[in-house]
């Protein structure tokens, strides 16, 4: 329920700080779920998963974006989905659809079905965010929500199918993607209007 809460609540609280706080909470709660599923902490893979979830997704991603937006003096209000009854109904409808889909995928009621339900809801809500956002920051939040949804989905076993090399590679890709998003966002002007048309005055390769 906690995980579902941090997936849904930030959609209705219209500030960028709450979006980032929500992302951070998602990272920590998924890490907690991962720990609950394999509490032994004997394998390198488990430690790597925890580092990815806590350090990269729980701390680094929200912190880097927070510092960036703070440096750009961004206005506090930021709607992750459109603030109207239709969007809220769609969001809640997606959560219900996720639970129904999970019941079809995992016939036996229990922890596994709950995990799949929340992961599916997280993925569907991330698509809602991506579809309703026109700002670059909002789209990055949507992409990071999608990454968190996938991480939650993989907790049931999908993450441990590879070798140590592929596991490290996956974490490096998430970190690299985050770094590139921050780099690109830093270069954008404050304006969210349509960019000027390309000029062919400067030579290009």
């Amino acid at each position: 329920m906690g995980l579902l809460g941090v997936m849904v609540v930030p959609l209705f609280v219209a500030t960028w700080r709450s979006s980032l706080f929500g992302l951070s909470c998602q990272g920590f709660l998924i890490a907690w779920a991962a720990y609950r599923l394999s509490p032994e902490l004997h394998s390198v893979e488990t430690w790597l998963t925890l580092v990815d979830l806590v350090v990269v997704r729980g701390i680094a991603a929200p912190l880097l974006l927070y510092r960036l937006l703070l440096s750009q003096n961004r206005a506090a209000r930021h709607d992750i989905i459109a603030p109207n009854l239709l969007s809220w109904t769609v969001a809640l409808g997606l959560v219900l659809a996720a639970f129904n889909l999970s019941a079809a995928l995992v016939p036996v009621d229990g922890d596994e079905r709950a995990l799949i339900s929340v992961a599916t809801a997280a993925v569907l809500l991330s698509f809602l965010v991506l579809a309703s956002q026109s700002t670059a920051f909002g789209q990055v939040v949507g992409a990071l929500r999608l990454e968190n949804g996938i991480a939650l989905f993989e907790l049931g076993g999908g993450r441990h199918h590879g070798t140590l090399v592929t596991h490290i590679g996956q974490i490096a890709i998430v970190a690299g993607t985050l770094g590139l998003y921050v780099w690109l966002l830093r270069g954008f002007s404050e304006s969210t209007s349509i960019p000027p048309a390309t000029t062919q005055d400067e030579p290009t390769l």
Partner: protein, 478 residues
């Protein structure tokens, strides 16, 4: 020689650029590394095939690897030569070239690693790595539009490859549910028969196909492609269209090779639907656009649609599909590099302004003409035979509606492209220009691609033909 050298050479060259050892002659280092990897790739193709996994099972060179190594590396060499020549003759391009060269070398290393990878998750990681290295190359200084295009490209890559990762997680669950040992090592997956075709597997496969389709520019998530190809420097657009496209295609081929035998209806249905919709949207866009790079970009979506249809039909279409894929790689490289030359001279990408190319820039005029003719699938090019075999397979498999739609869309594309491109080539020159003539180094890469394109259509060396046939057979499953 080890296949690892194909990764090590560009990686070491990138390191040399990064630490400053190769900064002064960065573009020469780029050409040198590309030359070495091309030679290594040719040796790999000519040597006896050993489909034996190595490096903890992560590396395995099979027919698919060898075929695409032999295509991707020479194309990269051609693009590198173009970059070297452009930088040598245009001093303004010296700024930031080391960064671009370093990224391009990592891009090449990741692409070669992908082509010889034996693990589905490793393929995913390496494809994402090519996207991460390509993103900064799209960004141009002082261009907000290019930065936004790079952002959009990265966003769609993240979402597309996120869907693939989600698909893999579902496929993993499918294997667990069927009591099979979960693995993503390709050689083990080929040995595991039958693979499950339960809900998890179908969902996973469908998501993975949709995600890879996004990287290929297939509908429904294709909208990043025209903007990215338009805003990226032409050399980078050529890298994306002719190199990364083939890397993404290899990931799709791997999925089809593993899962088609047990999930034929799903693979065929989804690929045919994505292919047809892509052809429809690209045809409409080709009719509407007046931007030369966007025109090539929409043609790329169209080609991706044809490839998806060919792959969906399978059977006798597979050989034609491969001919089409190989021709397509050379066509895109020729057209993007030619577009770069044209735009550099006319300072515009508006097709209504460019006219009389055959008089102003004879080399570029000829390249654009031949590239367009090959693009439209005329003989004697490989794309003609490829399309013909795909159409024949559509009729053979009884998909008459798809066949009719395919023919109608191809005809419309032909008319729309010809109407836009041919006046650019043969139209009257609107202004008196005194252009410097093109030198051989500038034309050499495109000339080589052109020769490869004609060879693919007229005479394919027996060893290479055997390789294509092996890959075509592998697309039907292990």
């Amino acid at each position: 020689m080890s296949p690892i050298d194909l990764i090590a050479v560009p990686a070491l060259a990138a390191l040399a650029v990064a630490v400053g050892a190769g900064r002064a002659r960065a573009t020469l280092l780029l050409v040198g590394a590309a030359l070495v990897t091309t030679a290594l790739a040719i040796v790999e193709v000519l040597s006896a095939p050993i489909a034996q996994a190595s490096l903890a099972g992560l590396v395995r060179v099979d027919a698919t690897s060898r075929l695409f190594l032999a295509v991707v590396n020479p194309i990269f060499l051609g693009i590198s030569t173009y970059i070297w020549h452009r930088v040598r003759t245009t001093p303004a391009l010296h700024e930031g070239i080391q960064r671009l060269v370093g990224l391009a070398l990592v891009f090449l290393a990741a692409t070669n690693a992908l082509l010889i990878a034996n693990h589905l998750v490793a393929l995913w990681i390496l494809l994402e790595l090519t996207a991460l290295t390509a993103t900064p190359m799209i960004v141009r200084a002082r261009s907000e539009a290019a930065r936004r295009a790079a952002f959009r490209y990265l966003l769609f890559s993240t979402v597309g490859l996120g869907l693939v990762a989600l698909g893999f997680a579902c496929l993993h669950r499918g294997m667990e549910a069927a009591g099979l040992p979960p693995t993503f090592l390709l050689d083990r997956l080929f040995a595991l028969r039958p693979l499950p075709h339960d809900t998890w597997t179908k969902l996973g496969l469908s998501l993975a196909l949709l995600g890879i389709g996004t990287k290929l520019g297939l509908a429904p998530m294709y909208s990043w492609l025209p903007e990215t190809y338009d805003e990226a420097p032409p050399a980078v657009a050529a890298l994306l269209g002719a190199v990364q496209f083939n890397a993404a295609l290899v990931v799709l081929f791997r999925l089809v090779q593993v899962y088609r035998a047990d999930n034929a209806a799903l693979v065929a249905g989804q690929l045919l639907a994505m292919g047809l919709v892509s052809m429809v949207v690209s045809t409409v866009s080709i009719i509407a656009t007046r931007n030369i790079k966007r025109l090539i970009a929409y043609a790329s979506i169209n080609h991706a649609g044809v490839i998806a249809i060919g792959l969906g039909v399978g059977g006798s279409a597979s050989y034609g599909l491969l001919l089409y894929v190989l021709s397509n790689a050379f066509i895109k490289a020729i057209l993007f590099l030619t577009a770069g030359k044209i735009m550099a001279h006319y300072r515009t990408n508006d097709t209504r302004v460019i006219s009389g190319l055959i008089k102003d820039l004879p080399y570029s005029g000829v390249f654009l003409m031949v590239g367009t003719i090959a693009l439209l699938g005329f003989p004697p090019f490989g794309s003609f035979l490829g399309e013909l075999l795909i159409l024949s397979a559509l009729v053979g498999s009884g998909r008459m509606l798809t066949f009719a739609a395919f023919c109608a869309l191809i005809t419309m594309t032909f008319v729309a492209t010809g109407r836009t491109v041919f006046p650019m080539i043969w139209g009257p020159a609107k202004e008196k220009h005194e252009w410097p003539r093109q030198t051989l180094p500038a034309a050499l890469p495109k000339l080589t691609f052109l020769v490869a394109l004609v060879v693919l259509g007229i005479y394919i060396p027996p060893a290479f033909n055997a390789l294509i046939q092996q890959v075509a057979a592998s697309l039907e499953g292990p």
